[in-house]
Each structure stands twice: as structure tokens, then as C-alpha cells.
Subunit: 135 residues, 2 copies
Amino acid sequence: MQRIPKISESEWEIMKVIWRSSPITAEQIVLQLPADIEWSDQTVRTFINRLLKKNAIGFEKSGRSYHYYPLVSEQECVRAESQSFLKRVFGGAADLMVTNFLEEAHLSDKEIERLQRILTEKQEKQEKKDSRPKA
Amino acid sequence: MQRIPKISESEWEIMKVIWRSSPITAEQIVLQLPADIEWSDQTVRTFINRLLKKNAIGFEKSGRSYHYYPLVSEQECVRAESQSFLKRVFGGAADLMVTNFLEEAHLSDKEIERLQRILTEKQEKQEKKDSRPKA
DNA sequence: CTTATTGAATTACACTTGTAAATGAAAGGC
DNA sequence: GCCTTTCATTTACAAGTGTAATTCAATAAG
């Protein structure tokens, strides 16, 4: 009964398309997959069906073909995957993980500045919260 | 022939123990696994064997039992997993990912400051590089 | 109406993963 | 030297994944 079904690597590709443009037909999904992915129609339909079984997506009949739409939000799924990744690789330590990314990734000056702004905002928000009497 | 074998979730737990203290016997691995993991000895030995097959670890006989040690570094594996995660969930955009984590994770003031320091350092390093004539 | 086409649903099949049990081999106990 | 214990190796087996082919059902073409 867990809220968010486990979505496999291939299924993620399908979900990303559906999140981007739903409702959408199987045919359109095939077309909108990134060019470097070369799956047969059948393969794509298999993934669609598995996502249906997992209740990750739903559909509405529209004459001959189905229009699929997400039943779980990208937000939720990203969060779930991130949690799982974090736990597996960094034992759950978010700051460790961010540190690692900051050090490994080559970020542009712009990006670094943006991140600093976000951090500063977060800091200010927390200070405000701390100065309130705790409920 | 890819450098870093794919390490499953359970196998990661084993690897983390081996990275922490190697060379190490199967028995010790069992003992050093986090307390909330309850695998039978056999299960742990299965994972160890799979890691051997994948060439993620090696061993040296020492009389009755084996002493296992890593053949791939934690660094490498973390990097590989991160890449894979990044690609799957964020389409490869590292800054997006970091942003997301900063916003979702509850970081303490200390952690935020530490991250800011890291960012500042990175920024300074990049400026230095930029002021050099490009090779 | 019969046939060809086009989705969707079912079936397939090998590989991985989680979870062990069974078997084999070596070493220690007596 | 035989029996038990203890590792390691082999085998097991169901669920999930990657990758489709096959079958079924409805629609379009003639």
C-alpha cells in the first residue's frame, strides 16, 4: 500500500514524457522519447502496461486509442527516488551528498551564485523560524 | 567491460562494510552490517559471491576463511551511482538536482554554512582558473 | 461483408535481485 | 580416524526488468 510505486529506469523515461505532456497516446509517447532511445513500439507499450499495473498512470479511452495520464506527481517520484538513492549511497546524509555533488560537478559561476542565493534564503527562513517561540 | 559493475541495493550494504574495514571475513561482514538489517548468513554470503562474480571485490585465502577486499573504490561507485541517478531522475542536470535537495532536505544552520563555504571556495578557484590564459 | 491494419492485451524469455536451503570440503573435537 | 561444525560453493525459486513477438479486437479499406 505504499503511495509511490517503484519505477524502473526504463519506466522513468516513459513517465518523464507523460509528465511533460499528458494526456498522451502510446504513439505520441513513442515519438516524444529522447532520440537516443531506440525501443520498439512493443517495448514502449510493455512499459506503459507495467506502469498501469503499478498504478503509476491511468488512461481514458478515446475511440480507438487510449490517452494516458499520471497518477503520481513528478515531485513525489523525484522525492522517493532521491530518498532511496540517498539512503543507498550516502547512508541518508543529505549534506554529504550535496557536498559530493558540489565537488564533483563542474558548475558554472552562474549556477554557483544561484545555489548560494538559495542557501542564503534558506538560512534566513530558518532564522526567522528559530526566533519564533516553538509551538 | 565497463569499469564499474552495477551494484544492487543490498550489495551496497555489503560494499559499505568492506570499504569501511577491509580485508574482512564474511563473518565479520555479517556482524558489522547495520542492526536494522536482518539477513541470514547465507544471504550475506550470496551477496558476497555475487560481488565476487562482478569483480567488485576480491579475496585472499587465510587458512579456513577468506578475507575480502574491494576492487573498486567507493569514490568510483558513488560517482557511477550518482551519474545514473542524475540521468534517470533529473535528465543529467546536476544543478537542478542540488537545488532540489537544498529545498527538500532540512539542513541545519551548520550544514548550510559549510555548504556555503564550499561554494565560495569553488567560486574562488574558478576565478583563478579564468584569469589564467586558456591553454 | 471480408480483409488488412492498428492499437491493446497476453505471452515469452533471459537476466537480475532478494531471499535462502542444500551440498561439499576442510578443520577441530574426541 | 570418524563425526560435527564451519566456511564456501552450488542450486533454488519467485518477483522485477529489458526486450519483444504473438494474439485479440476493433476499425478502415475495398
